[in-house]
């Protein structure tokens, strides 16, 4: 998972703004969404990102993984996240 090159983002406290440079549209993420995005950028795969956040949140990796997959799907539909070919 990664952000496409036409998406810029800035995080401030518990909020992240994503900017789609192709459409000129802004999108907002709340605190959890911001954490998900940060973990995905750091760990590249949903499994690794979910495991890292599960440790932080003190919950099971499976629970985080389920929520993160939904998050990724929503981001993908908005053109804000791409699935790398080698990741399933």
């Amino acid at each position: 998972m990664r952000l496409p090159s036409h998406v810029a983002h800035r995080r401030l406290a518990d909020e992240t703004v994503l900017l789609n440079l192709e459409s000129g549209m802004y999108h907002g993420l709340d605190g959890v969404g911001s954490d998900f995005l940060q973990a995905l950028e750091a760990h590249k795969t949903v499994d690794a990102a979910a495991a890292a956040l599960a440790h932080t949140y003190g919950v099971t990796g499976e629970r985080v993984r389920g929520d993160m997959l939904k998050f990724c799907e929503g981001m993908k539909q908005r053109g804000l996240l791409v699935l790398d070919d080698d990741e399933h």
């Binding site: 810029a8 800035r10 000129g24």
Partner: protein, 323 residues
């Protein structure tokens, strides 16, 4: 309208503006105290034919096209020709791609009337193209720090700023604030010394500010266009942003830290229709992020019946550290 008047130079929105046609109010903002901005813009009267040559419509991208109150307002853009702003009520205005030249083809109207559009839309675009970020906000300065008043149309930005000025703050701008990041600060530049108020609010103000009387230029749609006697002439770092809201359920006036999304507030106050290039969009995002990082944001909730003077008093009290 031709370019026959004595040339003048004024400052507004961080720009040094020169023109050679009457511009009541705008051309009066000439102060030797103003530090000379490096950004310059030349205003000229033009003919529609010359504008058409500058910007061939067939090659233009439509950036904005809305009908409001029976008038169409659209913005066209080409890579080399710049921007064309067309408004049914006010006329046609060309802004060069780098924002240093403006050509005006106004409707047959009193100067102050079509220049509302020049000041409210065209000059902010030139400022934006020269690297500033215009926001829909009014501003005053207190103790060298600027207070920005934001909010939806009709929320009372203008009357609140004028009441703060009446109470001793320095009026900096009405309705459009040109801001930029300077080192650790986000600074706001003075705007044009012009404002619009309804007669009731003007009477409440006593028709004057500490610097002198508010000079009526004309009236339109229930509002009186006014030249402001004295505007602060130097930029100031932003010390606070106050978002004005009216709430029917509120029983008293509150000023609380802005909870929730700063994004919607700050990005929603930008002139987004012009922000099409990636570098420009990122710059806009960076300025708004910096503003949210560096400056306290407040939400002012006013109940029905509370006036702009009450709101101004509450903001001044908060800005000075009072309860």
């Amino acid at each position: 309208m031709t370019n026959t008047e004595e040339p003048w130079t004024a400052t507004a929105f961080g720009l040094e503006i020169s023109g050679s046609f009457p511009a009541p109010g705008l051309q009066d903002q000439v102060s030797p105290d103003c530090s000379g901005p490096a950004r310059r813009v030349v205003l000229r009267m033009e003919t529609s034919e010359r504008l058409d040559r500058a910007l061939v419509e067939a090659d233009a991208t439509s950036l904005y096209d809305r009908e409001m109150a029976g008038a169409r307002f659209r913005i066209l853009w080409t890579q080399t020709g710049g921007f064309l702003l067309e408004h049914d009520h006010y006329g046609r205005f060309w802004v060069s791609a780098e924002g240093s030249q403006i050509g005006c083809v106004p409707r047959e109207l009193d100067d102050w009337r079509w220049q509302r559009f020049l000041v409210g839309q065209v000059l902010p675009l030139a400022a934006l193209l020269q690297g500033l970020e215009p926001l829909h906000a009014s501003a005053v300065a207190i103790d060298g720090r600027a207070i920005l008043c934001m909010g939806a149309s009709g929320s009372g930005k203008t009357s609140t700023a004028l009441h703060m000025a009446s109470a001793g703050a320095d009026l900096m701008t009405d309705d459009v604030a040109a801001i930029e990041v300077e080192g650790e600060d986000v600074v706001v530049h003075p705007g044009a010394p012009l404002t619009s108020l309804n007669a009731t609010e003007l009477d409440r103000l006593g028709r004057e500010l500490p610097g002198g009387p508010l000079r009526p230029l004309g009236a339109e749609e229930g509002e009186i266009r006014l030249a402001v006697p004295a505007l602060r002439c130097s930029s100031a770092p932003v010390g606070g942003v106050y978002v004005l809201t009216r709430r029917d359920e509120a029983d008293h006036l509150t000023v609380e830290p802005l909870a929730g999304s700063w994004t919607a507030v700050l990005l929603g106050a930008t002139f987004n229709a012009y922000a099409q290039r990636p570098g420009r969009l990122i710059s806009q995002l960076d300025v708004c992020t910096r503003l949210a990082e560096a400056v306290p944001l407040w939400r002012v909730e006013a109940p029905p019946g509370s006036g702009a003077a009450d709101v101004a008093h509450a903001i001044l009290q908060r800005a000075s550290g009072g309860a």
